[in-house]
Symmetry: C2
Subunit: 298 residues, 2 copies
């Protein structure tokens, strides 16, 4: 079976459609590379691109896009609501199929090396590719943002993983890493009481003693007269959708509140959905090879 990687580069341009098209263009029409979508946000002044395909081909195409971004985006003039430190701000590689996290980490390092050697943009490795624990968290890496990076790099603890001890004058510095696919998942509660959603979120999220790979918080949906527990599941192979769902249902009972349903925001890996069906049907000896479409992707 073919290895499949996903890459979700974030570029610091969300307003100039012409520039956005030029940045995205290297990801189109290449053998082994599929551009899934890109969403520009004007307030953030940022575009999030999703591309998928054969690992080496995806990496090479993304390096090309990073090159275009470093030529077109001048960070000294960039304004936007989202934290950022480079023309290409962050580049996560996500193993999707027949690929280990170690392989995704190697791909991230190879990408980082190319970005520095070919385009003179320095790189921090982050998350699973991080060279030390304090670089795992992107927010920590990016702290100081573009404007504070020249100062930050003077600290010997913050020497880039690739590149010299200074940022690119207009393209800044980029974070390249590897991580599991993330599932954005919301569960709807039949109440307007946000405090109940808050209490349930605290039961299931890692930071308060809940599941290891669950981030959660409460949200009001006033137009539907309900509240939501909104979540990011950061490793669905270890913190399952069905386990989180059933736990929320269990906790909601405590308040006499019904779970009305749930929703996936964005994309969800097939394996997470198949694992959910396998749990509820008690499927024996079930794996992805039992799914007809798996054969189509070999």
């Amino acid at each position: 079976m073919a290895k499949i990687v996903q890459c979700v580069p974030n570029f610091s341009e969300g307003r100039d459609l012409d520039k956005i098209e030029k940045i995205v263009d290297p990801l189109r029409g290449k053998e082994g590379v599929k551009l899934l979508n890109y969403e520009a946000d004007k307030d953030y002044n940022r575009v999030v691109v999703t591309v998928i395909g054969e690992p080496e081909a995806v990496k090479n195409a993304v390096v090309e896009s990073i090159c275009v971004a470093s030529e077109l985006i001048d960070m000294t003039k960039h304004e936007g609501q989202h934290s950022r430190m480079g023309a290409t701000d962050v580049v996560p590689f996500i193993p999707i199929k027949e690929m280990s996290m170690d392989e995704a980490v190697e791909l991230a390092k190879s990408c980082a090396k190319d970005v520095w050697e070919k385009h003179n943009v320095p790189v921090f490795l982050y998350e699973k590719a991080a060279s030390k624990p304090e670089r795992e968290n992107l927010a920590t890496v990016r702290k100081g943002q573009f404007e504070g990076m020249s100062e930050k790099l003077k600290d010997p603890n913050w020497h880039p993983d690739f590149g010299e001890n200074k940022i690119h004058p207009t393209a800044g510095i980029t974070a390249v890493g590897a991580r599991m696919p993330l599932i954005a998942y919301n569960i709807n509660l039949d109440t307007t009481n946000i405090e109940i959603a808050n209490k349930i979120a605290r039961c299931i999220r890692h930071s308060n003693g809940g599941f290891r790979f669950c981030k959660a918080g409460p949200v009001e949906i006033p137009e539907r007269n309900i509240v939501q527990v909104t979540m990011n599941l950061t490793d669905y192979t270890k913190t399952s959708m069905y386990r989180v769902f059933e736990t929320v249902r269990m906790e909601a009972k405590r308040y006499g509140v019904n779970v009305m349903g749930s929703e996936v925001v964005g994309l969800v890996p097939m394996e997470a959905i198949a694992d959910t069906a396998a749990y509820y049907l008690g499927l024996e000896n079930f794996d992805m090879d039992k799914i007809l479409e798996t054969g189509l992707m070999e």
Copy 2:
């Protein structure tokens, strides 16, 4: 998105591996065509081939295989336990993705036309492609088998849909049709009492008042000290896996018997699995485009 069809031709050769390879060979290495597997059965003297891909390409490759089979297999010398009427016995086309049943029917008709015009093998259309109600059921169409077909074709009601009023002297006659993907699904009951499995099977199967697209029966699994309700779901879009599973659980309660789990035999379409997960999680606005891998198959 690309249209995907599955085709499962059955050829009347299950013993001579050299001939089987020659029959299967046209399905290999063709653009847009993927040979998923083939299983020869010596007792049946029959090989069942599963191929999938772009409709026109799959049809053309299958027509080539049918040609090879009609050259290599002499039905006047064929012996086997399975009913059969032709060197290529039956050719169902199954719409898998972005394809309607009407399109699968058109593909079946186009295949049937080619088989007759290029290889002089007459064809009955069956199931969804049938030209009259009495030709929908394959067993009815095949009744009389190869040996009785010359006589059967003299009946004006059994003029082939393509071809003249006589069979090919050595390749016989072929059934070409269109149908939904079939899910072979078994549910395990924690009892050795086969009568309970039998009673539950009668509740859920169409022939006794159960679900429209469910065939079911009881099976003993002595090595595990359990019984099974064994099923074919012939249209999972209308008779869902979860609905059948929950109904079996409901009926089993009547006898104080637990449902231990279930199993899929062979392949299951992703949509059937996704629909199951969506039911149990109460997923709102969920469809196949939310699944990451769907983008890979476009």
